[in-house]
């Protein structure tokens, strides 16, 4: 089922929350108030919201260091997320995990992962657990793994796809193809089946979904910057998974509007490419769509302001939160 029209404003607001979250971090980062690295997902909010919203609260999700959007859309509190960024005791991981490891077990967020590809088997394993607990069915619950297109060149990606296929695991694989892996255009490092012509969406990009097809996993490419398309694709995949029909691979074409991380000089792409991409980014796209449905600029600005307020509150909460105590470093290793 498609994303209901009456939820579109909410989706717009959710994408704005993610955008403002990243902007706030950039701001704090440039003030030297955030440690470690920060991999912004600006421009990829459509994938995050479309994918997470098509899941149930008790479905599982694993994502990457660039997964703030997925985490927030799945239900991680912006306060706990922002406090984690600032290394506070109130952070979702008490300051231990930081930007690359957002986790919220209460909303099925198994965790973001800083090792490329490594989170994919975790989602598959959670799906296997559901299959086992459901006595061969799925127990109603499924798992989604989100990863970048660079991950398709990591061995564990393949090993896991094969396991998912032979065991018919209720998994959804969402490849967020933003065309680059760090500072390298992914088509330079990613081979694809020769006989299949480049798709319509991004001619130069590798067709990673063909890799999944080689395991007999249903695989397709979609426009990830269109939140409704994304939602529908994941919704359908979730239906298949819950019905015991196995996994679906969704290659969501998108674009990373900012650099790979703070400090990226972006030598690998032109300014024109980026400004062209801005025309097609998910928030602009959904804004146009809402205007088509009768929303005014003022109405959209109100949604944006609401998002702004959510993040301002999160920042304030984080700033006012206490630091962890040094001795807290020695807890949470074992259950």
């Amino acid at each position: 089922m498609a994303l209901a029209l009456e939820r579109l404003p909410e989706a717009y607001r959710q994408m704005q929350i993610i955008r403002k979250f990243e902007e706030a971090i950039r701001n704090l980062y440039s003030q030297g108030r955030i440690r470690g690295s920060f991999h912004p997902c600006v421009g990829q909010e459509g994938v995050a919201v479309g994918a997470s919203w098509a899941l149930r609260a008790d479905d599982f999700l694993s994502c990457t260091y660039r997964g703030h959007g997925h985490a927030l859309a799945k239900g991680l509190s912006p306060r706990a997320a922002m406090a984690e960024m600032l290394g506070k005791a109130t952070g979702c991981s008490k300051g231990k995990g930081g930007s690359m490891h957002f986790t919220d077990a209460s909303v099925g967020l198994l965790g973001a992962n800083a090792i490329v590809g490594a989170g994919i088997p975790h989602a598959a394993g959670a799906a296997l657990a559901m299959q086992l607990q459901g006595g061969g069915g799925t127990n109603g619950r499924i798992a989604l793994a989100a990863f970048g297109e660079g991950a398709v060149n990591q061995g564990v990606f393949h090993e896991t796809l094969n396991l998912i296929a032979i065991w018919k695991l209720p998994v959804i694989l969402v490849c967020e193809n933003n065309l680059y892996s760090e500072m390298t255009p992914s088509h330079e490092t990613t081979a694809a089946a020769a006989q299949i012509a480049a798709g319509p969406i991004a001619a130069a990009s590798p067709q990673t979904y063909q890799r999944a097809a080689a395991y007999g996993i249903a695989a397709r490419q979609v426009d990830g910057n269109d939140v409704e398309t994304m939602y529908l694709a994941v919704e359908e995949a979730a239906g298949r998974a819950r019905a015991g029909e196995g996994a679906t691979y969704i290659e969501a074409m998108t674009y990373r509007l900012w650099g790979h991380m703070m400090g990226d000089p972006e030598v690998y792409r032109t300014k024109e490419e980026v400004s062209q991409a801005r025309e097609n980014e998910p928030i602009v796209r959904l804004g146009r769509r809402l205007q088509g449905l009768g929303w005014t600029e003022a109405g959209l600005a109100r949604l944006e302001a609401e998002a702004e307020a959510v993040i301002a509150d999160a920042v304030q909460f984080a700033e006012n939160s206490p630091l962890p105590k040094p001795e807290d470093a020695f807890t949470d290793v074992f259950a």
Partner: protein
């Protein structure tokens, strides 16, 4: 008490725990119909079915990773690595994932995952099938590492591992599977982190674990014939280390020799020695010594392999040099 093999003791532990706890399931290569190369999972597929005893592809990183995910989602997976040496293709999932995810999540998730494997040399399996990695794994915060030497300890420790709720690397030894010993009937556990004095003695303390415990005991018998009474401590768990038992013994004997099969360099022998000097420097009458595999890959030919791995004669020679 019935006398059974180490392999059978492990098989019993798995069967009993699987009957008691539906969350436990197994993944590994050839563990199903075949019952495992070393027969540890014999007949488990016929009792528990294909769902709970899963033959995997040769995808160690993949299925260890699935184990991590399933553990986070409430199951108690047991994954088998056919040889410890293959931990290297799954190293990221073991070290970066299983060991760290709970911590990185601030304690929100737990990873009750048991990684069963066997290691060690002595059969001429060569450099890629004879390694001992416990000293490496003991370096990794977030992992519990056990290495039982006897059937009874193997069964009791495997039960503890399955109940403890944390990632455990459970290390068996290829030359122990056919060894036999008395195993208590009914349900019992051996505590993780508790060493055992397997032989009392006043002249020196030999600390060992896994197969090296048997060699240490054999050496101790021979030393006794020459009037040297060695106390043999079987660590059973190598991380966390039971320093209490070691220090108690060393305070009595004033001499310490640690024997292990992993390479000496940065091995558990060095660790235990460093801790004894930190915690009870006054206890030792002679410098502590350790014996591990020599610093070369493990060769195949018998004479070469014996030159590299610790032997009973090496233990005796070292012990004699200390008393």
């Amino acid at each position: 008490m019935p006398v059974i093999t180490y392999a059978q003791a492990l098989n019993d532990a798995l069967r009993e725990e699987m009957r008691a706890d539906r969350r436990i399931f197994l993944m590994g290569e050839d563990i199903g119909l075949h019952g495992g190369i070393f027969r540890v999972t014999k007949d488990l597929m016929s009792e528990f079915g294909h769902e709970r005893v899963r033959d995997t592809p040769i995808s160690e990183a993949g299925f260890v990773g699935l184990g991590v995910g399933a553990a986070m989602a409430g199951m108690r997976p047991v994954v088998e690595l056919l040889f410890m040496d293959f931990a290297l293709v799954a190293a990221d999932q073991i070290v970066n994932q299983a060991a760290k995810l709970r911590y990185m999540a601030g304690g929100q998730v737990s990873i009750p995952l048991v990684i069963r494997t066997q290691q060690g040399g002595g059969r001429g399996n060569g450099a890629q099938h004879s390694q001992s990695f416990e000293s490496w794994l003991a370096q990794v915060p977030g992992l519990i590492v056990v290495a039982p030497a006897t059937p009874a300890d193997a069964k009791g420790l495997l039960k503890s591992a399955l109940r403890c709720g944390n990632p455990v690397v459970f290390i068996e030894h290829k030359l122990l599977y056919n060894t036999k010993g008395e195993v208590p009937q009914g349900d019992y556990t051996i505590s993780i982190g508790k060493a055992e004095v397997k032989r009392a003695g006043r002249d020196l303390t030999i600390v060992a674990y896994s197969r090296m415990t048997l060699l240490a005991l054999e050496a101790a018998e021979k030393l006794a014939q020459e009037g040297i009474e060695a106390e043999v401590i079987d660590l059973r768990t190598v991380e966390p280390l039971d320093m209490t038992t070691i220090l108690d013994s060393v305070r009595g004997t004033a001499r310490l020799l640690v024997v292990h099969e992993s390479h000496s360099n940065c091995g558990l022998g060095a660790e235990i020695i460093a801790r004894v000097y930190e915690e009870a420097p006054e206890a030792l009458a002679t410098p502590a010594r350790r014996l591990g595999a020599k610093h070369v890959p493990i060769p195949v030919a018998e004479g070469l392999e014996n030159a590299v791995l610790p032997q009973v004669t090496d233990i005796i020679a070292l012990a004699k040099g200390m008393v």
